[in-house]
Amino acid sequence: MATSSVSKGCFVFKPDFKKRKISVPIEDYFNKGKNESEDSKLRFETYQLIWQQMKSETERLQEELNKNLFDSLIEFLQKSHSGFQKNSRDWGCQIKLREIPTAALVLGVNVTDHDLTFRSLTEVLQNNVTPYVVSLQAKDCPDMKHFLQKLASQLMDCNVDVQSKEKESVQVTQKKIHYSMDSLSTWYMSVTQKTDVKMPRKKRTPPSQWQSPPVVLILKDMESFTTKVLQDFIIISSQHLHEFPLILIFGIATSPVVVHRMLPHAVSSLLCIELFQSLSCKEHLTTVLDKLLLTTQFPFKLSEKVLQVLTNIFLYHDFSIQNFIKGLQLSLLEHFYSQPLSVLCCNLPEAKRRINFLSDNQCENIRRLPSFRRYVEKQASEKQVALLTNERFLKEETQSLLENLHVYHTNYFLVLRCLHQFTSSLPKYPLGRQIRELYCTCLEKNIRDSEEYASALQLLRMLAKDELMAMLQKCFKVFKSSSEKQLGNTAKRIEEFLAQFQSLDAEAKEEEEDTSESQSKGLQKTDLYHLQKSLLEMKELRRASKRQTKFEVLREQLVSFIDSLAREYLLLPETQPLHEVLYFSAAHTLRQHLNAAPRIALHTALNNPYYYLKVSTSHLSFHFISQ
């Protein structure tokens, strides 16, 4: 069938029903259409496994980070609703009754992540506060009529329980013509009384502890609502507040001032606003990175360039965690798709098992890895020969190398965290405030060569005792928290340092006594010559002691200790043999797919066609074949 016509623009193609049943499994697409298809099935499975783990981990993180916010929100809702509950005759309460309790939720500009937050918020509220949770978006409510209609239809849906579903839905379709606040409040009365009579709702017990649960209305994007709709709704609903207990939640992307900018004083005075601030997206990113990449839990790692690309997209384009995770997913996919040895990118015991089953081709692939070649060149000649000819020996060696790589990572991250504790609070943050910045610098080049590192150490040499102590304490905790035995020695060293610093206190007192003694000595009566001499002596003594205070000696020791840690453990990943198995480094591919520049492509195509035509003839390693 042709897909061009002068009379229509949509062409539907439906294959025969029988044919359609045979759907191709996704793995097949993974296998086909490329030159290296070694272990592709296994690779795809590994990809899916790791991705699922990462995804659930990020969801868990998200929940954890939102927990605080949600708890305080729930508290606010319960508190503000209790006033309605009591129905007291108090004058203050009467006044308060005219005000709609409102939570202004400042969520930040990463609008795309908000959906997830609101979804989980709705869930939490429904489980804990009230079954009547409605969330509206500005694009659904161009005017008051639609607003009420959406509100009503969602409210009715909320109420629908399993047994009465059909009846309710019939009602909904009937009633769809028009709604008013009056009808809503009568509906509310009827529903609450009905539940009062019945009281069989054991499924959602918490809400039924009140006889009249509040109605929570979430406006997801408060800024994009039209002012008039919002004003009208607030005025009307404040009139009905005594019979229709409404609580508003505004989702605000910019700043809380926007409420007052949008609503005139007469309207905003009807609201009783409390402000809630969600966690900033940068901190969110830091935790995500911390839990996904700076850990040995997931074998997959990003190279410096890739990490730069992803964080740059995050920081300079959208602030969206969702997008960042998408980038991570893509890099994971690309890694497993393009690197045949990525089959070994799994947890250590499994990888060791898989090594035994590697085919000859895969062994050849290992030998071709640049990092492995470098490693081989360093070995003695007999071993070189063995590595290059004997498959068995190669496999054994690979196993030990992979294990080394694993150990390297455990140590690396521990030392990285330790170093971060020391450098994160230095003035001017020479190595960055966030651990991801430090990580990036460490991945980029040998950190001990960088100027920032030198200046950071310089600053460390000037710190006071209590600051150093605090850092050491944190460091100690880091080491304690990890169960690894590898760096147990280091933890002990840190503990020793701590003890030494503490014991300094006592010694300092003694020293003070010393100095006071010498001072009293200096006050003895002498002639001018002797006085001069003794003064000179004292000066010299002081200078010598200045250089040699116990604290300073200790501090120097500590700094050199940290330096030695960095030297020993913070090596570049490129120096490790077989790093290609775990590290994804095709930053260019990633940038092209995520952050494309159609303008530049057009420009190049028009100005310099040879870029496309000639390059393609000379060699096939075009940009899209990564590595």
Partner: protein, 553 residues
């Protein structure tokens, strides 16, 4: 300016503190003096008295010219460089961008400088062309006086003989402005001739890029219309400022004003254009084929990524329709898929949704609104997880689909787990359609597919700029309708037409009111009641001969 200052200080061999303001005054004074001198010299030339110029004035000029030349040289090199290695990776600074024109005077100066080198090559290239032989005497005639000056100067001072041709040009340009103008137009026509000839010969040779550049520059230079004295005054004050901006201006790409209007060749009709185009054999076909094969290797990857929740958007020069069509025939034979031609002028979101509901989901009901329909589709796809649908959209950024609402709806469709979207975009600014929210709905993976193939199908609904717009089709339909009318009705129409033609130059003309028209028709004995007139007008309206507005009636 800086170099001058330095050289001066070198001579003095004495360092003393000079305030910024002083330096500025100093420079301005000196500059002013020089200009006045020049002005005088020009006056003298204008009266055709040949007088030896003051030596230092020449020096001054020489220096300036040299400086300009350096600048030009840099400019030329830069353009060439950017041509040589305009790879996709090197930043956006060389990419076409919005640019405001430089000062016209400066442009004229620059253009005259630029004109000198390539002109030689042009003339040598087109030696056989008779036009050029006409052109040359024209030039020499125009500048005969100045040539004399040059000759004299040649005898007397060695500055000019050693100076490059640019200097001579520079001396000429400000003096004979009217002449230079004619010269520009002459060169323009000459270039046009060349191009037209190339078109006619249908040679598919790649013209030397250098030559094109040169021509572009000549054409793009606007003609300076200010009198020299005015220019001088302006220069005095704005020179410094200009120099600053010149030094800091980064964009060296000049916009070409070589438009279709400049073609001497008259517009063709559809058939001849088609014939001419069909004669052109495609160049680089082997390379293009290879390029396409590379893209075809990606098909499996695309399928994989589509299944993993991404959607794919293709961008790059050239029609991507064939590529997508090949993708469709190779990969999608066993799946339900919908091909949507975004370039089709009658396409709308409504029709897309309709084809999904009616043909894919076999639903025969109607919907109250597009949003309802969308909700229904979304629910349907969420319920039946085994249902899978591929959407192929050619030109997602077309006129009809680029609206905010359409994009929102398509985005929501594509965000469904079992709807897979693969689309192509062509507009330079297409990504501006999507804000963050929409981008996250689409979840795009971008693929660059520069194919260099023709947009034949995409542009088939539009009129080519090269084709003559005859308007013969509406005219013929008009005559058909008119022929079937009664004499009275024809009279009514004629009245209306006449009124329209009488008022066609009136910018405030809003139309003829019904009452007035009725009156006129009555006076001409064409109708007897307003009902008949209304019936008649309705008939016209049905045939789209006229348009009516409610508020006037």
């Amino acid at each position: 300016m800086m170099s001058k200052l330095e050289s001066k200080e070198d001579k003095m061999l004495e360092v003393q503190f000079v305030g910024d303001d002083d330096v500025l005054n100093h420079i301005l004074d000196r500059e002013g003096g020089a200009k006045i001198k020049k002005e005088r010299a020009q006056l003298l030339v204008n009266t055709k008295k040949i007088i030896k110029k003051p030596e230092y004035d020449l020096e001054e000029d020489d220096q300036e010219v040299l400086k300009d030349q350096n600048y030009v040289e840099v400019l030329g090199r830069h353009v060439q460089e950017s041509l040589k290695n305009g790879s996709a990776t090197d930043g956006g600074n060389k990419v076409y961008s919005f640019q405001n024109r430089k000062h016209p005077e400066k442009m004229a100066k620059l253009a005259s400088e630029l004109a000198k080198t390539p002109r030689k090559s042009v003339s040598s290239n087109l030696k056989s062309d008779p036009e050029i032989t006409i052109d040359i005497p024209q030039c020499s005639k125009g500048h005969s006086a100045s040539d004399k000056v040059q000759l004299k100067n040649n005898d007397k001072s060695e500055f000019l003989s050693t100076a490059p041709r640019g200097l001579r040009k520079r001396l000429i340009v400000p003096r004979f402005h009217s002449d230079s103008e004619s010269e520009y137009s002459a060169s323009n026509s000459e270039d046009d001739e060349g191009v037209a000839q190339e078109c006619e010969e249908n040679t598919n040779e790649v013209i030397l890029s250098e030559q094109i550049q040169a021509q572009n520059r000549v054409v793009s230079a606007p003609v300076c219309k200010e009198t020299p004295s005015k220019k001088m005054r302006r220069d005095k004050t704005s020179d410094l400022v200009e120099e600053y901006f010149e030094a800091h201006s980064s964009s060296k790409v000049l916009t070409s004003d070589r438009t279709l209007q400049k073609l001497k060749r008259a517009k063709l009709d559809q058939q001849t254009l088609h014939n001419l185009l069909s004669k052109v054999s495609p160049s680089f076909s082997a390379e293009l084929k290879q390029l396409n094969q590379q893209y075809e290797q990606l098909f499996h990857k695309w399928m994989l990524q589509l299944h993993l929740g991404f959607n794919i958007v293709l961008y790059g020069l050239g029609s991507k329709r064939d590529l997508l069509e090949r993708f469709r025939t190779t990969m999608l034979q066993d799946c339900i898929h919908v091909v949507i031609n975004g370039f089709f002028p009658g396409i709308s979101v409504k029709s897309i949704l309709n084809s999904i509901t009616e043909e894919v989901l076999n639903h025969m009901g109607t919907f109250r609104s597009v949003l309802d329909q969308l909700d229904w589709i979304i629910n349907k796809f969420k319920e039946e997880s085994s249902l899978e649908l591929f959407l192929l959209i050619h030109n997602l950024d077309s006129q009809m689909l680029r609206g905010d609402k359409s994009q929102q709806i398509i985005g929501q469709l594509s965000s469904l787990r079992n709807i897979y979207l693969i689309a192509s975009i062509d507009h330079l600014n297409a990504p501006l359609m999507w804000d963050h929210a929409k981008q996250s709905l689409y979840n795009w993976l971008w693929y660059e597919t520069t194919t260099y193939s023709h947009y034949t199908e995409e542009t088939s609904y539009e009129n080519s700029l090269l084709v003559k717009q005859s308007g013969s089709l509406p005219l013929s339909s008009l005559t058909h309708v008119l022929r079937s009318l009664t004499p009275n009705a024809r009279g009514i129409f004629r009245l209306l037409i006449k009124y329209q033609l009488d008022n066609q130059d009136n910018p405030y003309y809003i139309g003829l009111s019904f009452q007035d028209f009725y009156q006129q028709c009555r006076e001409a004995f064409l109708v007897n009641s307003d009902l008949t007139l209304r019936a008649q007008l309705t008939e016209f309206r049905d045939h789209k001969l006229i348009r009516t507005k409610k508020n006037i009636w």
